[in-house]
C-alpha cells in the first residue's frame, strides 16, 4: 500500500512497476527500471507517451544518469531490495540536493519500520508499505524524532539552525 507523508493512502496511485517482460504501454502509468527507461529514451519509444512515467533506481544505478531526463518524469521510485542496503538514501539525497528533483520520490522494497523516519528526512515523499502493522503505526515511525541535527532533504529547520536563529 502506498502512503504519503501523512500516512494517507494514495487514492490516485495508478502506477504499475514494469517487470522485465512486460510491454511498455504509453497510455498507462508505468514505472520503468532505469536501464529500460534510458533505452526507451534513446530509441524514441516514449515519444508518443500520454500517460505519466516513472523510473525505478536500483542500488547500483548511477543517480546522475537522470540529470537530463527529469522533465520527462512524474515519479522516481527507489528500490531497497534489502533493508541493509542503504544506497537508496544516497540516491534520494543526490536527487533532492544536487539534481533538484522536486517531484514524487517513492521508497519501495524491503523497508524497515524505523527506516521510514530516515526516508522522510532524505526527501522521500511516498512509501510503499507492505505490512498492515506498519501501515497502522506509520505515524509513530515517521514522527519518531521531533528534531534533526542534519539537513539532508526534507527542508526542516535543524537543531543547529534553531540554536543560532537570530531573534
Amino acid at each position: 500500500m502506498v502512503l504519503n507523508k501523512d500516512g494517507q493512502k494514495l487514492v490516485e496511485d495508478s502506477f504499475t512497476l514494469l517487470a522485465d517482460d512486460d510491454a511498455l504501454n504509453n497510455d498507462q502509468a508505468q514505472i520503468l527500471p532505469l536501464a529500460r527507461f534510458l533505452d526507451a529514451v534513446e530509441d524514441g519509444s516514449l515519444n508518443a507517451r500520454t500517460a505519466p512515467l516513472g523510473v525505478l533506481l536500483a542500488p547500483a544505478d548511477d543517480t546522475r544518469a537522470l540529470v537530463d531526463h527529469l522533465g520527462k518524469l512524474a515519479l522516481i521510485a527507489i528500490d531497497f531490495p534489502q533493508y541493509k542496503d542503504g544506497r537508496g538514501f544516497t540516491h534520494a539525497r543526490l536527487l533532492r540536493e544536487q539534481l533538484g528533483w522536486t517531484g514524487e520520490l517513492r521508497a519501495v522494497g524491503d523497508v524497515l519500520f524505523d527506516q521510514l523516519n530516515y526516508m522522510l528526512r532524505t526527501g522521500f515523499s511516498t512509501f510503499d508499505v507492505r505490512k498492515a502493522y506498519d501501515v497502522e503505526h506509520f505515524a509513530d515511525a515517521i514522527n519518531a524524532f521531533t528534531e534533526a541535527y542534519q539537513q539532508p532533504g526534507d527542508g526542516r529547520i535543524t537543531v543547529i539552525e534553531k540554536r543560532h536563529a537570530v531573534g
Partner: protein
C-alpha cells in the same frame, strides 16, 4: 564537558521511547527476532553466548562524576555489579535482561548518556586522545570536533545503513594516542603555515582480518569544510563499498580495490558537488563550533609551583607509590598538575573490568581531585586528567585501597584482551585466561619496570578486537581441529609510527603461550643496548631472527 540542551535531550529521550516501542512490539510477537535484530543492534544491544550485552557510548571517552556513578548504579541494578570498559572508550554491560534494557536506557538518559550507534553499520561512537584538553602538545582540544561530529553523525539519515560499521578517531597531537591510523577515518587536527586550524583526513585504516594503515587523503581540510568533506567520503564509500562479502565491506577494502588515487579523485569530485549544492546546510558554522568549544574551556586551575614537595616526599618514603608515579602519570599543560592514569589491569583481574564500588570511588576521586573529569582510554584504562601533584599521593592511596593503584601503565601486564571464547560467539579461542597466565608470569612489578614499555594485545579470533596486529607482542587465538592455538606477532604499533606486527613462526598451544612470551621478553632484555632501547626499537634493529632462534631453535 559538553552539556545537553533541550534539543540533545529531546533526541535521546525520543530514542528511549522508540526503543521501548521496539521491545514491546518484539515481546508482543508483532516482530520476529530476525526483524528485531537490526533495531536492537542500532541501540547497542547484542545477543552473546550467554546473554544480551548492552554497549553504552562514552563519546570521545569523556565522563563526569555523575555519569560514572550512574554507570555504577546501572551495573548494580541491571547487571552483576560490574561493567567492562572497551577499546572504543565505551562501557559494556554483559548481563542485562531484555525487559530491563529500556529502563536502563532511561536511567542513562538522565545523565545525558545513551547507546546510540554503538553497533550496526553506521558511524560509531567517535574516539579521541584520552589526554585531550590536558596534554601540553595538542593543537586544540579534539573533543570539540568530537562533539560536533557526534551530533552530525547521530541518526544520520543517509549513513545509517552503510556497507559496514564505520569508526572515526580524532587526534590533535603528533603523539597519536588514539590509534588514528587504524580507523576507517582518522582525523588529525593540524595548523597550517597561515596559522589556521584544519584537519588532515586519513582514510581506510583498520584491523580485523585484513590490517591496513590508513592513507592520508587530504592534508588540510579547512574547519568550515570538515562536514562537507566527511559527507563526500561517506557517500563515496556508501555507493562503492562492497555489500556482497561481509569481510570485504570495510572502507579499507574499498580504498585498496579502487586504488587510493581514484578513491581520492571520487571523493574530491563529490566534495566539490556537496560544496556547490549544499554548502550552507553543511558548512561547519563558527558560531556552533564556538558554542561547543565553550563547554571544553579550561577548568579553574590554581596557580601552582611546577614542583611539589608533598609529591617528592611521598615518592621517597613509599616505593610502591614511586613505582606508580614512574609509569602512571603524564605531563600536564599547567604547572603543578599531572595527568593520572588508573590501571584497570590489576594482577589477576579481567582487563577493562570495573566493579560498581570501583566506579563510585573513581567518581568521588574525580570530583575531589580532577574537576569531575574522567576519561576512558582505548587501552581499557581510566584517566583523571587534571590532578595536582600535591594530591597525587592521596589519590593513589585511595585507588590502591580498592585495587586500582597498579603501577603497570604501558608495561607488560597492561594488556588489551578481547572477551574471547568466555563471552563472545565469534571467538575461536579463549583470551582472558591466556592474559591471566601472562599476567601471573610477570607478576613481579620490579621486573615489569625493568622490562619497560611493552604492549601485549590478545585477540581470540581474526576479527582482532584485542588489537593483536598493533601489539608490540600480539597474540591471536586460532582453532585447529578443535584445539586452541596462539599465533605470535612482533613489532606492531598503533601510534604515529603505525605498524602491523609480523608473525614470528608456528603457533603455540594454550599452555605454551606464557613460556613463549617469556622467551620473547628475555631475548629482548638480554639483547638490548641499554634500558633506553625499547622493545619496539630492538625489534626494529634486529628483526625477527633472534626471536625465531630463541623460540624455535633449529627446528
Amino acid at each position: 564537558m559538553y552539556q545537553y540542551d533541550q534539543f540533545d535531550n529531546g533526541l535521546v529521550s525520543e530514542r528511549v521511547d522508540q526503543f521501548r516501542g521496539q521491545v514491546e512490539r518484539r515481546t508482543a510477537g508483532n516482530v520476529l527476532e530476525e526483524e528485531f535484530r537490526p533495531h536492537r543492534l542500532m541501540n547497542g544491544l547484542y545477543l552473546q553466548l550467554h546473554a544480551y550485552m548492552l554497549r553504552v557510548a562514552v563519546p570521545y571517552g569523556t565522563l563526569n562524576g555523575g555519569q560514572m556513578r550512574m554507570l555504577a548504579d546501572c551495573a548494580r541494578k541491571y547487571d552483576k555489579g560490574y561493567g567492562h570498559f572497551t577499546t572504543r572508550q565505551n562501557i559494556q554491560f554483559n548481563w542485562p535482561r531484555l525487559d530491563d534494557v529500556s529502563e536502563l536506557l532511561k536511567d542513562l538518559s538522565e545523565v545525558e548518556m545513551h547507546a546510540i550507534q554503538t553497533s550496526g553499520n553506521c558511524i560509531r561512537n567517535i574516539t579521541t586522545d584520552q589526554y585531550a584538553g590536558a596534554t601540553p602538545d595538542e593543537v586544540e582540544d579534539p573533543r570539540i570536533t568530537g562533539e560536533v561530529l557526534r551530533q552530525w553523525s547521530t541518526f544520520h539519515p543517509e549513513f545509517s545503513f552503510l556497507p559496514r560499521k564505520f569508526k572515526i578517531a580524532i587526534t590533535a597531537t603528533e603523539n597519536d594516542r588514539a590509534a588514528m591510523r587504524f580507523h576507517d577515518i582518522g582525523i588529525e587536527i593540524v595548523k597550517n603555515d597561515a596559522g589556521d586550524i584544519g584537519y588532515a583526513v586519513w582514510v581506510g585504516g583498520g584491523q580485523g582480518r585484513t590490517p591496513v594503515i590508513a592513507k592520508k587523503l587530504n592534508s588540510f581540510v579547512p574547519r568550515q569544510d570538515l562536514i562537507c568533506y566527511l559527507e563526500a567520503v561517506l557517500r563515496t564509500y556508501n555507493m562503492l563499498g562492497r555489500r556482497d562479502n561481509l569481510y570485504k565491506a570495510r572502507i579499507k577494502i574499498t580504498v585498496n580495490e579502487t586504488g587510493v588515487e581514484e578513491f581520492t579523485r571520487l571523493v574530491d569530485e563529490e566534495f566539490a558537488a556537496v560544496k556547490q549544492h549544499a554548502y550552507e546546510q553543511f558548512r561547519l558554522r563558527d558560531e556552533e563550533f564556538s558554542r561547543v568549544a565553550a563547554f571544553f574551556s579550561d577548568p579553574a586551575y590554581e596557580s601552582l609551583a611546577a614542583t611539589s614537595s608533598t609529591f617528592e616526599d611521598a615518592k621517597a618514603k613509599d616505593t610502591r607509590f614511586a613505582a606508580w608515579a614512574a609509569t602512571n602519570i603524564a605531563p600536564h599543560k599547567v604547572p603543578g598538575y599531572a595527568i593520572a592514569n588508573i590501571s584497570l589491569k590489576p594482577a589477576g583481574g579481567i582487563p577493562g573490568d570495573a566493579t560498581s564500588e570501583q566506579m563510585d570511588l573513581v567518581a568521588d576521586l574525580a570530583d575531589r581531585y580532577s574537576f569531575s573529569d574522567i576519561r576512558v582510554t582505548h587501552e581499557q584504562n581510566l584517566v583523571l586528567p587534571h590532578v595536582k601533584f600535591d594530591d597525587l599521593y592521596a589519590l593513589w592511596q585511595a585507588l590502591d585501597h580498592i585495587d586500582l593503584g597498579t603501577a603497570n601503565l604501558g608495561l607488560v601486564t597492561d594488556m588489551i584482551v578481547c572477551p574471547g571464547l568466555d563471552y563472545c560467539n565469534l571467538a575461536n579461542a579463549r583470551s582472558i585466561p591466556v592474559g591471566q597466565m601472562i599476567d601471573a608470569r610477570f607478576a613481579d612489578l620490579n621486573r615489569q619496570h625493568d622490562i619497560g614499555e611493552l604492549k601485549v594485545k590478545i585477540s581470540g579470533c581474526i576479527n582482532a578486537c584485542g588489537h593483536h596486529h598493533v601489539g608490540h607482542i600480539g597474540i591471536l587465538g586460532v582453532d585447529k581441529k578443535g584445539t586452541e592455538y596462539y599465533q605470535i606477532t612482533l613489532g606492531g604499533s598503533a601510534d604515529e609510527n603505525a605498524a602491523v606486527g609480523k608473525i614470528v613462526g608456528r603457533a603455540f598451544g594454550y599452555d605454551e603461550v606464557a613460556d613463549a612470551v617469556e622467551t620473547v621478553v628475555t631475548t629482548y632484555v638480554n639483547g638490548r643496548d641499554s634500558k633506553e632501547e625499547t622493545f619496539l626499537s630492538y625489534v626494529g634493529r634486529v628483526g625477527l631472527g633472534p626471536f625465531k632462534e630463541a623460540l624455535y631453535g633449529s627446528e
